[in-house]
Structures are given as C-alpha cells and as structure tokens.
C-alpha cells in the first residue's frame, strides 16, 4: 500500500497539503518546559513556538494546562510536583495537557498539546548548537541564493532529533541534521527559517531566523 501511495503521489492524484516543515501554516511547532526536568515540588514554565499562516512565529503561553498536580499562578502556568510522592525509582514522567491558540486565526479551535515533564534529577534545556547555512555560520538574519540548493546543517549527539521549518522555499530532509533549502522563483522570498532540536532527556531548544532569498 505504501508503494501505491508513493506512485499515486508521483502520478499527482493526491491533493496537496501543507508539509510539516511549513511555517506558513497555523500550528504548534514545539512545546517547551523550562526546565524540562525538576525535583518533585519544584516548578517549571511551559510555553510553545507557534507558527502562523502569513505571519511570523511567536512564543506563546498555554491558554490552559492540566496534569495530575498542575497549579496555575497568574499568567504563568507551572507544574508543581508534590513533595509527598516518593520518586525513588528514578525519573517519573508527568504528562501535562495544554491548550494553545492555533496560530493567528483565533476562530480555529484551540489545539491540545501534550508535553512530558520529568521528575527526578534536574536538567536544563540544551544550548543551541552551531548552525551553518550554505556552509557559513548562521548570523542573526539570513540571506540565501534563490533557485538553488542551500545547505543547512547542525551537529547534535546521537538520539537527538532535528527539525527544520521555513516559510520561504522548500525543504528537503527536514528531519535530518543536514537539510536543503530551495527557494523556487514562485516561492515566497521572505520569511523565516527555524531549527528545532529535541534532546533525549525531554529538553528542547529552537532558533528562528528571518530569511531572505535573492
């Protein structure tokens, strides 16, 4: 059946949908807990990188959150792990279910997002590793040549996952540390490029650059 789907795709019998790497599509790109691992009884702050159709990405706090023992304080939503639970068997996951507004179109129903916070030995989110764009270190704003492959690369330890997203051009191998960006003449030449990294411990880091193709 997968062969069938592939050949159907080749034959053009499938309606197009926005790819997962598109930042020009209302969706939650990634949720983050800061820090992702805490002692029982400590707090962590939750937010998410949200992509918007036709607009830049934003970092947003959840509209609501719930877990077995979640507390909400003011505009900050934190997971307060209870001290009365024994965690002598090592790290314990607490699944936090949140709702976020999906992009700028508030008429759309909010999206539910699950993020796991780990109780045990504390750990921070990872630091953003070096990223090269077209063979050169990425600056704060990117300018790339149009209508040719632009090499995107970063280096992460084994077990970490990398996702590239953009609102300008097409991405290939968007879930590999090495990816390609190709801005066709018909594509938007201005937008954003994002690199999202998930480590093996629940940590998250991202970087978003404004990008221009010429």
């Amino acid at each position: 059946m997968k062969t069938a789907l592939l050949l159907l795709l080749v034959a053009g019998c499938i309606d197009p949908v926005d790819p997962a790497w598109s930042l020009n599509h209302d969706h939650v790109v990634v949720a983050r807990a800061t820090p992702p691992r805490i002692h029982a009884g400590d707090a962590t702050t939750l937010d998410a990188l949200v992509a918007h159709a036709g607009g830049p990405t934003t970092v947003e706090s959840p509209l609501s959150a719930s877990a077995g023992r979640t507390q909400v304080t003011g505009s900050i939503i934190a997971v307060n792990a209870p001290k009365d639970v024994a965690y002598d068997t090592g790290d314990t996951p607490v699944d936090v279910l949140m709702t976020f507004a999906r992009g700028t179109n508030r008429a759309l129903s909010p999206v539910q997002v699950k993020k796991t916070v780990w109780l045990g030995e504390p750990a921070d989110n990872p630091a953003m590793p070096d990223v090269t764009i077209g063979g050169a270190p990425a600056g704060d704003a990117l300018t790339v040549p149009a209508d040719q492959d632009v090499y995107l690369s970063t280096s992460v330890p084994a077990g970490w996952r990398v996702n590239w997203l953009t609102s300008a051009g097409q991405l290939f191998q968007d879930d590999e540390p090495t990816s390609y960006l190709h801005v066709l003449p018909a594509d938007a030449h201005d937008g954003e490029l994002a690199c999202v990294i998930r480590d093996a411990e629940g940590g998250v880091v991202w970087k978003v650059w404004p990008i221009h193709a010429e």
Partner: protein, 720 residues
C-alpha cells in the same frame, strides 16, 4: 480442442487492375473443415458476403482492397484479392471443457477476446474485473487478492489460476495483473454461491484459465506504454505449448519523468517480470497431462531522501513461482483430475532501520477429484456427482517487525511512525489445511435440477473443522428463463498477521442467492439476483486491549443485474449492483458499515467491430467508499506527532464517481505480421472524484486521493 485456421483459398484476380474483380474464396478452420456463416466484408463496408456450408464465398472487390473475415468463435481474419491462396491464421483458441457450464447464478464468463475488447480494461485482467457486478471499483488494488467482492474484505475472496490460488493478482509496481490477458483463455467471475470444489473464501471467486497451445505455431510480441511481452504457442509432436514472458518498462523511463523536486533517490528502479508456461500432452486417448508454471518477480528500492539516509530506506521485493502438474482422465461419463502443485514464495520488505518483513513460504498442494455424469439413471433425467479432496501444506518462515496490521473497520493508521514495531515474530510454523467435498446434481425432470453437496475443511493452525453444506435448485420456466435458488456455508482461515495467532479460528459466512436467468436469444443473456450473506467469527481487534479475537458479525444484502450481448459485431455489457454491508465488531458495539460498502455500482459498455476497426465505450458509476472522519488531534510535542481523534467509524462517504472510457482497436498487416493496435482511454472527461481521504500532519487539512484524471493505454501487438 479446436483451433481455428481461416483459409481463404483460390482467390481469383481478374483484369483490369482498377476495376472490381470477382473474388472466390473459402474459409476453413484448422482441421480443414469449412466454416459456414462467416462474414466476409470489404473493409470500406461497400459489400459483404457470407460463406456457405462449404465455407465458400464470392464477392466483388477492388484490387488492393482488404477483406475482413469474421465468424463467431474465431478471431478476425484478413485477406485481399491479390493474396490468392492466402492462409490466415486465427489467434483464437477455443477449448471445449469436459465440465458442465458454470451453474452459479450471477456468474460472468468472459473469453479472452471479451476481456480485450472491454473499454477501460486496458488489456488488463484487474481493470477488466472492475466491470463485474459486485466488484468494488477502486483505482488501486485492494488487499492481496486485489479485489473486493460484494462489499466485504479483500481476504474474503480468492483468485484461482487453473484451480490453484495465487498469492497475489497484481504487481506491486504499476498494479498490472500478474497474468497478461494474452495468456488466459477465459475469466470466470463468481461473486458468491460457488460450489463445494472451491474453498477458503467467504465471498467470491475469480477463476482464470490459462491458454493452451494452438495447433499451429504462433508467436506474438507486444509493446505497451508500461511493459513489453512475448508469447509463443503451438504443437510439436503432440505437445501443445504456450509460453509467455513480460517485463515492465517503467524503470526505463521513470528517471526522466520524475519531477526533480521529489525528495527521492531510487536505488532499484521499480520493475516487474512475469512468466507463464503451459504444456498439454495427450498420454492416451483418455489421459491428458498438463504441466504449467506461473511466476512473478517485483522489486523496488529507494531512499525518501537525497542523501540516502538509512532511516529513509524503502525496499520491496516479492517473487513467486507456482508449478503445477495435472492429469485428467475422461472416459464414458467419468472424469478424474489429479494434480500436484507447489509454490515458492519469497518476500522482503524493509522500511527505515526498524521495520521489516522477511518471508519465505513454500507450499505444496495435492488435489484429486472424480466426477461422473450419466443420463436416465435411478429415475433421474440426468445425474452427476463429484467427490474430491485436497491438502495444502505450507511452511511459513518469517522474520517480522512491523506495526499492527490494519484490521477491517479500524481507522487508517494515520500516525506514520517508522520506529513502530508493535508486532514482531521470528521463527517458523507450518499449516496444513485439508479439504474434502462431494456433491450431486440431479435433473428431476426436464425443468427441475437440484444440486446438493458438502465441503469439509480442517485447518491445522487453529484445529478448527468447518462443515459447509451447499446446494442449488434450478427450475426452468420456459422461454429460456430459469429460476435459481442457492444456499451455502463458507469459511476462510486467518491470513497474514492474524495467522500468527493460533487461537484465531476461521471466519465464516452463509450465503443465500435467488434470481432469474434469461437466455433471451443466442448470444444474449440476462441475469438478475438477490442475495443475503450472514457472517460470523469475523476477526476484530479489541479497542481497549488491542487483542484480536473472532467476535465480529456482519451481513451483506444486495441485488445484481447482468446483461451480456455477444451478437455479430456487437458486444454489450450492462451491470448494476446494489449492496449494503454492515457489521458489529463485538457484542454490544454499534453496527457500522464495512470498509468497502458500495451501495450502487453501474457499468454500461458497448463495442462494435467494423472492418479493420473496433470501437467501444464504457460508462461507470459507483458510490464512494465509507470513511472515518477525524474530529481533532492532540499534539505530542516530545514525539513531534499529532495523534488524531476519530469520529464514528465509516460514518462519512466519498462522493459518487462516474467516468467514461473509450477504446479503439485496429488490425492491419505489416509484412508477414498481423498487427493489432489499440488505444484505451480511461476517464475521458477527467472526472477527478475523491476516492478516499487523508489528512495533513496536524489534521487541520483534509485532502483527497483522487481518481486518475485520464489514463491512456496504448499497445501494439504483432502476430506471426
């Protein structure tokens, strides 16, 4: 066995060259017997003549004109006034079977020539089947058999080639049937109510009979848009032979048509081969021996990335060969068939770093059947009975790590996790399925015929034994009208992943069919039937535990109409099917539609042969398939996956689809070769109806799989 040889002899050519000449000729068959009633037509249609009882004809024709010869049961022949004593070799082989004609109401029997002239069939068996009443017409093959009959599941129906099952009817690449139309003699579509000699199916059966060798040597080669093939047949020292081989050509041009924007790296270009060999030899006047082979080999390997990342690798290889030896004895009403068949099947599938299937399943079948037909016996007008037995031994060697197999009614596996290996198995087990059957048919008088029989299947994997009584009552009502009522029990064992669980027992069905068959005139038949099928022990998965069990029940009810016209140059085909298939997956659960429930299906086709051309058109209309809607999704941020939440199962339906197909055939001579050229175009007015739905990565966008907008198939065949 009669092989047609049309002979136009002693064609006199008069002078002057430009004036019409009076042509005399004869049409004979392979044995030199005259063919009476053959139509000889000047290509322009200016004049025609009919052969007399001696096969002779006379016609006035201009020098250089082509004479087209047609006769029922024979292939089209060509002659010209200049080609005196020309011998025209017909391709048609007409096999006279010792078995009685199919007695099941609703059966559609098509000769090879019928399949070839069916518009929209593209000279392919699988596509031609879409014209049958009760077949779910879908742009892709469904399940391993490739077909769904009467709205049930793909596993419920079987495809038999010369009485033996084939593991699949189609190539993974290109979805062409594993047997080219040129290699079959006929196709019989039995949507239900089949006899005791066929088992391990709970819906319908498709029986393909391969093509026997002709009396005279005959070769042909064909080049199509996606494949090329060659076939040779003839008789040498009493040995009739047919051998054909086919290869896809997709791999030759695919690299040039793939858009460069595809994130794809093909390492083994998609290709397939298949072969068919059949040898027939008359050992004595009573014994005939048949050896046959049928094989298929598909391969495809690619990386869904430019850099050939190992986690984006995809490989699919399937190859099998079935070899069969069969001996048949005929003598004074007695028929005995002894057959042994073996199949070697190897299949390999790999996806990414974790998912794989490595399967080797050699299987051997021994089958014996005896039948006897007599007249005026024991007070019956005629009496026939049959008894047979069959044993199928299969050794399954399997190394598997895959997601859970999709079970009928489950929502599609929308979360595509290449690391999902929920089902793992490494080992071997064997299955032995025994079957025995007997039935008797008696003509109570000239109008009433009754058939009763029993089939017993024993499945060693589960230890289950199924008793399946089947019977039919046929009453002649006069004026060519026959009323028929049949009922029977059927079963099929678990297959694929469900076969791994020895606790699962066979699924069962009970079918009741009633209707009328009207032989309106020679070559014109009309059938109408109502049916009801009750199913139980359906394999379902528990929503909470994920366990498989036989707790499902289901019913299918419907009506089918089939009208066939084969008269002179006309071929007409009309089918309409109504079906309603529902099931309950476990006691207390809500009733729902089967995945392939199709309420309405209509096919109207007509084909007309004139001169060297044949024109055909076919209109089809079919209800859309049910689908399960997605209500929303939850984003698991750590896994970077949106998990959908579903609405009621199969509670929405794709829109009704209709399309028009056309076909043009042309015959001509090219040197010593008789050439056939065809153009078959599906979906002429490009109706791109949605046939199914899928969702974007976050389930906020619903998109459709659509019918191919237009699909032309061209072919050129040379016969020597």
């Amino acid at each position: 066995m009669v092989v047609a040889l049309l002979v136009g002899s002693r064609v006199a050519v008069a002078q002057p060259v430009s004036a019409p000449v009076h042509v005399h000729g004869h049409v004979r068959d392979a044995a030199g017997r005259p063919v009476a009633g053959a139509q000889v037509t000047i290509e322009s249609g200016a004049a025609s003549a009919t052969t007399d009882r001696d096969g002779a004809y006379a016609i006035d024709a201009a020098p250089g004109a082509s004479l087209v010869i047609t006769a029922p049961g024979y292939a089209l022949g060509l002659a010209s006034p200049e080609a005196a004593d020309a011998i025209l070799v017909a391709e048609e082989t007409i096999e006279v079977h010792g078995d009685p004609p199919p007695s099941v109401l609703g059966t559609a029997h098509l000769e090879r020539a019928d399949v070839e002239r069916l518009p929209g069939g593209g000279n392919d068996i699988l596509r031609a089947l879409s014209a049958m009443p009760g077949i779910v017409d879908y742009p892709l093959p469904l399940g391993n058999s490739g077909v769904v009959i009467r709205g049930s599941s793909p596993q419920d129906s079987k495809v038999l080639v010369d009485d033996f099952e084939v593991p699949t009817l189609y190539h993974d690449v290109g979805f062409r049937s594993i047997i080219p139309v040129e290699s079959i003699d006929s196709l019989e579509y039995i949507p239900g109510g089949f006899g005791v000699e066929v088992g391990r199916a709970t819906s319908g059966v498709i029986e393909l009979t391969t093509r026997a060798g002709s009396d005279t040597p005959h070769e042909q080669a064909e080049l199509g848009a996606g494949e090329m093939s060659a076939l040779a047949q003839g008789t040498e020292h009493g040995l009739r032979y047919t051998a054909s081989v086919r290869r896809s050509t997709l791999d030759l041009y695919l690299p040039y048509i793939l858009p460069p924007s595809l994130d794809l790296s093909l390492t083994t270009l998609p290709r397939y081969y298949d072969e068919q060999v059949r040898l027939d030899y008359a050992l004595t006047s009573k014994w005939t021996l048949r050896l046959s082979s049928l094989g298929s080999d598909d391969a495809l390997a690619l990386y869904a990335s430019r850099d050939r990342n190992a986690d984006k690798r995809y490989l699919s290889e399937t190859r099998f060969v079935r070899a069969t030896a069969a001996a048949t004895y005929h003598d004074d009403g007695w028929t005995a068939k002894l057959a042994a068949s073996g199949i070697a099947l190897d299949s390999r599938f790999e996806r990414g770093l974790y998912q794989h299937i490595d399967q080797s399943s050699p299987s051997a079948t021994a089958r014996a059947e005896v039948s006897h037909t007599s007249r005026d016996t024991a007070g019956f007008a005629d009496l026939s009975w049959r008894a047979g037995a069959e044993t199928v031994v299969t050794e399954h060697r399997l190394d598997l790590a895959m997601p859970k197999e999709h079970i009928e009614g489950e929502p599609p596996q929308t979360v595509d996790d290449p690391m999902d290996t929920s089902v793992t198995y490494a080992g071997a087990f064997s299955t032995t399925n025994h079957a025995a059957w007997t039935s008797a048919t008696a003509g109570l008088d000239d109008r009433v015929r009754i058939t009763g029989g029993l089939r017993v299947d024993h499945f060693s994997r589960s230890g289950a034994t199924e008793l399946q009584p089947r019977g039919e009552l046929a009453i002649g009502l006069g004026h060519g009208v026959t009323a028929r009522v049949s009922a029977g029990a059927y079963s099929r064992p678990p297959e694929y992943q469900t076969e791994l669980l020895a606790k699962l027992v066979p699924e069962r069905s009970r079918q009741m069919i009633g209707g009328l068959q009207w032989d309106v005139a020679d070559g014109v038949r009309l059938q109408g039937s109502l049916y009801y099928t009750d199913r139980d022990q359906l394999i379902t998965r528990d929503e909470m535990t994920g366990e498989l069990s036989n707790r499902g029940r289901g019913t299918t009810k419907g009506a089918e109409l089939l009208a066939i016209v084969k008269r002179g140059p006309w071929f007409g085909w009309l089918t309409y099917a109504y079906s309603h298939s529902t099931r309950v997956d476990a006691p207390g659960m809500q009733m729902r539609l089967f995945d392939y429930d199709v309420p309405h299906s209509l096919n109207v086709a007509a084909s007309y042969r004139v001169g060297r051309f044949q024109f055909g058109a076919r209109f089809r209309l079919q209800s859309g398939l049910p689908a399960t809607p997605v209500d929303g999704a939850i984003f698991d941020s750590d896994a970077n996956v949106y998990y959908p939440t579903f609405g009621p199962i199969n509670s929405v339906r794709a829109p009704t689809h209709h399309q028009l197909d056309i076909r043009i055939d042309r015959w001509f001579h090219w040197g010593p070769a008789r050439m056939t050229q065809f153009l078959d175009i599906q979906n002429v007015y490009m109706n791109e109806t949605a046939v199914g739905y899928f969702y974007g990565f976050d389930y906020t966008q619903r998109a459709a799989f659509r019918q191919l907008p237009i699909l032309p198939t061209v072919g050129l065949r040379g016969e020597f």
